[in-house]
Amino acid sequence: MSKLTITDLHACVITDEGETPILRGVTLVVESGKTNAIMGPNGSGKSTLAYVIAGHPKYTVTSGSIDLDGEDVLAMSVDERARAGLFLAMQYPVEIPGVSVSNFLRTSITALRGEAPKLRTWTKDMKAAMSELQMDPAFSSRNVNEGFSGGEKKRHEILQMGLMQPKIAVLDETDSGLDVDALKVVSEGVNRFKDQNDAGVLLITHYTRILRYIKPDVVHVFVDGKIVATGGPELAEVLEADGYESYTTAARA
């Protein structure tokens, strides 16, 4: 049983022109076995929340806390957070030229477990995980994200999540740029991962479409750097019908 607790989190970007606040007091709890959806318009800061949880150096936390099962996440380096059980499926994963998917995954798993996985079971596990996501076995010899299509990138992110088995996974717009077939495959991967690991999921999305395949327990509306409304799955249906307008106008007022 794991619990990620975010309390009154403020974060900004520091540039030569000064500080630009992006997160303005986020409070949120993600628990094992539960799916929290965060929905919001472009520029609301929802992706920043994902990056801040993972520890991206571009963002500076000015106040508030992130706690995973009693451990201070903000005191951890990026790799320590991953080893503590946090995972971020990225919206725009970067290319790593010259590093094959299989080498990358094996290096990562070795770092996470503290020992190299046995070669025979590892190859079998990786092949099985890839076939569940309908990925070609040749994929593992390609360089990380190099020349991947949008769908391949997202499948690769979900593949990593399944193999790394984090306690809490943050999915940053994993649905964006996917056609409906790919969306189904990716969603099934997320559901399988969550059921098998009793993991907590924080699903960040702009559209309600993915929520037809991944059922949220809680839906949050995220506007202007904070959560402005929280409800059950029915809130997503309201957003689908009415959009974010009433929330964005309220935030500006």
């Binding site: 993972a54 520890g55 991206h56 150096p57 380096s77 990026v78 790799d79 957070r81 991953a82 080893r83 995972f87 971020l88 990225m90 994963p93 970067v94 290319e95 790593i96 030229p97 010259g98 590093v99 080498n103 990358f104 290096t107 990562s108 770092a111 996470l112 360089n143 990593q160 790394m164």
Partner: protein, 374 residues
């Protein structure tokens, strides 16, 4: 002395071919070919001196000989193309001659450890790969002191020669090295230049073809840390039809004062129809402070080619790559190691011998202070 050969003007090829030192003016730094070079540090190579010659360490088989510079088996045709190379040819007393007999097949690499007495030296090395032979020659420049000279690879008809030149010198050392390659009919040449250290290193590789059908690849991996200078000035002179050339140089630079220069000249002469050529330089700046100059030049005298292209790019070490790898639990030092390995892998994977490949990668990583976590 005979009169120098003066070639017709092109923008890229050398004009003068001569063994007479005085046929070449002392460079002053404003000439196109010298404009990037630190003339002061190289000045010791512009006037003849009484230096010893680079030899070979330890026992070596019949393939590798330390011969008198007047040995008639050394190339009589090859001519220096600048003042340092003319001086080195004139003043060297001995040469290292590596002869691969025709039709002989060598499955393991022929490793040659070049050495000197620790003082400034002239170098002359020739590799003669006989027709239909297949071999890999590894030249380890285990020299100390400053070195000026030339390496020649003469690739016989349909021969297959891989030649690896590894310079891993101490910091204050200055070196000026020509590397001339002549590719025979339907021959296959792979040259790998690995330069991992030294104060001022200038290499001048030149590839040309003796007959149609030759293939040449010139690959380089270079590394600069701190106050170091390296210039790699490559010329591929397409003189024959139906040949190919492929140049890939990759450099990683770290620290204030590191400066690299890569010049990739490709000249396709009127008679060199149906050729394919490509050249690429990529530089990776691992920290703030280094400078990398990169200048590809392509001069086409014929439009009748299959393909001709070049690419050049210099980029900073990508913090997003580091973030991505770290977010998968990989510690920072190991993440950097993965990225640098990935950067050089395209070049180093051309080395067939796994032990040699791993040892070179290990040298690169230890130079960069990347801790090995495996």
């Amino acid at each position: 002395m005979t009169a120098p050969t003066v070639a017709p003007a092109t923008d890229l090829a050398p004009r003068i071919f001569s063994r007479n030192i005085d046929d070449f003016d002392v460079p002053h730094g404003r000439e196109e070919e010298w404009r990037f070079a630190p003339i002061k540090q190289l000045a010791q190579f512009f006037e003849p001196a009484t230096w010893g010659s680079v030899g070979v360490a330890g026992g070596h088989g019949a393939l590798v000989e330390h011969v008198d510079i007047n040995d008639s088996r050394l190339s009589q045709n090859w001519m220096p193309t600048d003042r340092p190379s003319a001086i080195a040819r004139a003043k060297a007393t001995h040469a290292v001659l590596i002869t691969i007999a025709k039709e002989s097949i060598h499955s393991s690499p022929i490793v040659v450890n070049l050495e000197n007495s620790g003082k400034n030296s002239y170098l002359h090395v020739e590799v003669h790969a006989g027709a239909f032979s297949k071999s890999q020659v590894v030249l380890m420049h285990d020299t100390t002191g400053n070195v000026n000279g030339s390496m020649l690879s003469i690739v016989g008809d349909q021969a297959d020669l891989t030649m690896l030149s590894v310079i891993d010198a101490d910091l204050p050392v200055t070196q000026h090295l020509h590397w001339f390659t002549e590719v025979g009919r339907d021959a296959n040449f792979l040259g790998l230049s690995i330069t991992l250290g030294g104060g001022v290193i200038r290499t001048v590789p030149m590839v040309t073809y003796r007959a149609p059908g030759g293939k040449a690849q010139m690959l380089g991996a270079f590394l600069l840390t701190g106050h170091q200078f390296q210039e790699h000035r490559i010329l591929v002179d397409h003189t024959e039809p139906h040949c190919t050339s492929n140049v890939i140089y990759k450099g990683a630079l770290s620290g204030e004062g590191a400066h690299s220069v890569w010049i990739g000249d490709v000249l396709v002469r009127r008679e060199a129809t149906g050729i394919e050529t490509y050249e690429l330089n990529r530089n990776l700046l691992l920290t703030d402070g280094p400078r990398a100059d990169s200048v590809p030049n392509l001069e086409l005298e014929t439009g009748d080619v299959i393909s001709a292209g070049h690419a050049s790019a210099t980029g900073r070490f990508d913090d997003e790559q580091l973030f991505y790898l770290q977010s998968r639990g990989i510690p920072e030092a190991l993440a950097r190691q993965l990225v640098v390995r990935g950067f050089f892998v395209e070049v180093l994977n051309k080395i067939d011998d796994p032990d040699l490949r791993d040892s070179l990668m290990h040298r690169i990583e230890s130079k960069l202070g990347i801790v090995d976590h495996e």
